[in-house]
């Protein structure tokens, strides 16, 4: 057993093997011959057109829908080996609008899976308090009802509820879809922080390609009929879209988007020295922000500074190369 890992990984590998789902009376399958592996502890985002089979793919995992063909393995074990209800209690599930129970307090909502699993009351209450803290909510929130929370707060509670019984796998179906831009960005950061702490395997459906690029270790692009168009890391997807469909989906500004994935520190040329008066950026600044700075300052290069002083120079030309590479 390995118990010392760089990042905490409590997740489990999930594998789709030739999974097809055909709903009765529908010409096109909702999911077609899907084969895909998500490594333990990784976030996989599913993107694609409406009706492209993303939700169906998720529901196949927790057996809210049974496949027509194929199998899904969680940690190498077929999901058909366990009882659906038992299976679901071991998988975190977050949906759009959170699906919180309006008649239960926040504490009860978070404690609902532990309660189903028969945890003692005290342990359930403690766990709820712990999770509220994890998602950055006040402990007093436990006594409130969902109607008394803001959309962003509800979304965090939805996340806390899914984490309650410490499941190795989380399914999140457009969890942040209903949030405004700023709140969404905050909850995303929140989620990424939590994910670094808990290290679950996550399947995450989104309509928002930018969200996928920000969150995902790997992105699965679906096309109509539930066909997997491409499965790749965000950088790879932006640099080398498999076809026009994927290129279209990631957008004409994919070069710019790619710049969000890299930081100035990664690209800085340590050999160079900056002339006096060149703009200065922190090593953690994304290339996209660096580019914006250079353009607004009318400069050709910027000096990059880390915690321990200057680390090098970054030029407009170099950024252009990253954006243009395809």
């Amino acid at each position: 057993m390995i118990d010392v890992l760089e990042d905490r990984v409590s997740g489990v590998e999930i594998e789709f093997t030739h999974v097809t789902k055909r709903f009765p009376g529908q010409e096109q399958p909702a999911v077609s011959d899907l084969s895909l592996t998500v490594e333990a502890g990784q976030i996989c985002c599913l993107v694609g057109p409406s009706g492209g089979g993303k939700t169906t793919a998720m529901k196949l995992v927790n057996r809210l829908i049974e496949p027509t063909e194929g199998d899904i393995l969680i940690g190498g074990k077929s999901i058909t080996d366990s009882d659906p209800v038992e299976l679901r209690r071991g998988i975190g599930y977050v949906i759009q609008e959170t699906g919180l129970f309006p008649h239960m307090t926040i504490g009860e909502n978070i404690g609902v899976v532990p309660q189903l699993l028969g945890w003692p009351k005290k342990r359930t209450t403690e766990r709820a308090a712990e999770l509220l803290k994890l998602v950055n909510l006040e402990p007093e929130m436990a006594k409130r009802y969902p109607a008394q929370l803001s959309g962003g707060q509800r979304q965090r509670v939805g996340l806390a509820r899914a984490l309650a019984a410490d499941p190795p796998l989380m399914l999140m179906d457009e969890p942040f879809g209903a949030l405004d831009h700023i709140t969404r960005s905050m909850v995303q950061d929140e989620f990424l922080r939590v994910h670094r702490e808990v290290g679950k395997t996550v399947l995450f459906v989104t309509h928002d390609i930018d969200e996928a690029i920000k969150m995902a270790d790997k992105i699965a692009v679906f096309r109509q009929g539930g066909v997997l168009a491409q499965y790749a890391a965000p950088d790879e997807l932006l640099a080398h879209p498999a076809d026009d469909f994927v290129a279209d989906l990631v957008g004409a500004d994919r070069g710019i988007k790619r710049l969000s994935l890299r930081t100035a520190g990664e690209l800085a040329d340590s050999g160079g020295t900056a002339a006096d008066g060149t703009p200065r950026v922190e090593a953690g600044t994304t290339l996209r922000e660096t580019l914006a700075l250079l353009l607004s300052e009318g400069a050709q290069e910027a000096s990059v500074h880390g915690d321990a002083g200057p680390v090098g120079v970054i030029t407009l030309e170099k950024i252009r190369q990253v954006a243009g590479a395809s």
């Binding site: 529901k59 071991g90 599930y93 609008e97 699906g99 309006p102 409130r144």
Partner: protein, 241 residues
């Protein structure tokens, strides 16, 4: 008010012999009420409460079971709804009379009638309530591993409570008022007093009984609202915010 030791009147409705009661034109004689509280008004009030409680409880149980079946099977919802809607349109007195040949004159006939009336109101409200659970909550319930039975009791039924209570309020107040008509079948409840007062043109008893009926309806309604508040705390929370 101190109630006088109950006299045993020869003619109950003329239990007192003071001037006010003797004068057929007097509108209301408090002395009659205090003298006959223990012997007439209180027993009839208690009978009325009993009629109402029995009808509402039985009606609720039947309506709940019916709504439960209807929730699972759509055809039942339409059938039961149609039948209880027809029952509801029958004039109340005729409805009570209808059962007399079968069930005779007495409690049973009255209760059958009263229960019949509560059914439509309660059935509709309970069924609507059961169907009111938000789709996301139901998807979430299944997705986190509730069994269908747990989903039904922990989500559908709990979220139906506001609608159920709304139905209970209407059904209870309706039953209290309808039960006064039941006295035509059998002298029981506050309706008996109303009937007697009309026959004897005795204003005091008519007013006293009528007011008691209204107070009973108001108190019963308030009581149900109170219970609802305790059982559905999320509703007040939602209104406050």
């Amino acid at each position: 008010m101190i109630s006088a030791p109950a006299p045993t009147p020869v003619i109950p409705s003329f239990g007192g012999s003071d001037a006010c009661v003797a004068n057929t034109n007097s509108l209301f004689c408090p002395s009659w009420v205090s003298q006959n509280w223990g012997s007439i008004l209180q027993p009839e009030l208690l009978q009325h409460i009993e009629l109402t409680v029995v009808a509402v409880v039985i009606g609720t149980v039947i309506a709940f079971v019916a709504a439960l079946i209807a929730f699972r099977h759509g055809w039942f919802a339409q059938g039961f709804g149609a039948i209880s809607a027809i029952l509801y349109t029958i004039p109340s007195l005729a409805f009570f009379e209808m059962f007399v040949p079968v069930t005779g004159i007495g409690m049973l006939t009255i209760e059958i009638g009263l229960v019949g009336y509560t059914l439509l109101i309660l059935f509709r409200n309970i069924l609507e309530g059961l169907r009111a659970a938000p789709a996301e909550a139901l998807t979430a319930a299944a997705g986190i591993g509730m069994t269908p039975r747990q989903t039904f009791w922990k989500v559908n039924v709990r979220l139906a409570l506001p609608a159920i209570f709304a139905g209970l309020r209407v059904a209870t107040v309706t039953t209290i008022s309808l039960a006064t008509v039941a006295a035509y079948i059998s002298t029981i409840g506050l309706g008996a007093g109303i009937q007697r007062a009309i026959q004897n043109s005795f204003n005091t008893e008519l007013l006293a009984t009528g007011i008691l009926t209204i107070i009973l309806a108001l108190v019963a309604d308030a009581l149900i609202v109170l219970i609802q508040r305790v059982l559905t705390p999320w509703q007040r929370a939602a209104r406050r915010s």
